[in-house]
Amino acid sequence: MEEKLLTITQAAEKLGVSVDTLRRWDNSGKLVAIKKDGGVHRFYREKDLEIFSSDIIQIAHDWAKDDFDLPSSFYCSNSAVFQARLTKLESLLMDQPDLAVLFSVIVAITGEIGNNSFDHNLGKWPDTPGIFFGYDINKRQIVLADRGLGVLTTLRQVRPTLQNHTEALDVAFNEILSGRAPEKRGNGLKFVREVTTTQPIELFFQSGDAEVRIKDPEKEFRLTRGQEILRGCFAVIKF
């Protein structure tokens, strides 16, 4: 995996601070620079800067694509860890005066998306198990990602005729798969669509090269084919 190294000037610009500040942070250990070949010049890995400035959308997306060691604060190795952290998010949201009513559906849809990752990939994780789960209360966003099988592969188990990721997301978000199948009936994404089209909550969801957007104010369910392919799933919830 190629490591992109930035100079201290580039890093300062990216973080919106002065070069002096970065020197101080390096000395204090707040943000440690890399000194190549024991030299004097300071360099920074772009990933480290992203994590430092907590651009969680970028980190989650990059992890879903390329895999690297996630900071433990964002990584849920199993659903019990996810449950515990989601309960914490629930309290934080409940503390926001403007979210006193909305918090419950925000937590519910986050739970559905996160638990889908565990339910559908248990025992079948292609490489790193678990999910990325991060949130920024100030920015009013929640990000989830997994490196699992993705919606198409999962749905093909019950719907072998699905042709591509776009069709798969269409079924996942719009069709009720009920019936007496022994397989767990996965209807969480229908719920997510219903909530995000009726509440002031926006959704971006990607699996494979298919992307779903539900945005204010139109609240249309928009399903498009994007440029890149993610094997697993990636979701951003804004409220």
Binding site: S79, Q83, L86, T87, E90, M94, V101, L102, F103, S104, V105, V107, A108, G111, E112, N115, F118, D119, I176, S178, K184, R185, N187, G188, K190, F191, E194, V195, T198, Q199
Partner: protein, 97 residues
């Protein structure tokens, strides 16, 4: 018989947790009389999601039909989840004050 759902937890979100709750509920369920109603109270529940709800409420709906009564709740996630479950089960819940 009245059931306070909050006794199973206040953040009711995963299939596994819902299944576990349903299993734990079985002994109590045996005590419901032949023509008795089963009332579910959502008071105190903070988040209620369809994965949990499907594992707990759907089998109850099947078993009790009209005798399963859900008390109204002003919790948004309860309302939204019941709506989804109604579509999934193709059968409405009986909701009363």
């Amino acid at each position: 018989m009245e059931i306070e759902l909050k006794k199973f937890g206040t953040t009711l979100i995963s299939r596994q947790a819902g299944t576990e709750a349903f299993r734990a509920f079985q002994p109590t369920l045996q005590e419901v009389e032949k023509d008795e109603n089963l009332e579910i109270d959502f008071d105190g529940v903070l988040t209620f999601s369809p994965s949990w709800g499907d594992e707990f409420l759907s089998p109850l709906l099947e078993q009790f039909g009209d005798r399963l009564i859900l008390k109204t709740s002003d919790n948004l996630s309860v309302q939204a989840t019941l709506k989804t479950l109604t579509e999934v089960n193709k059968k409405p819940f009986k909701i009363e004050d």
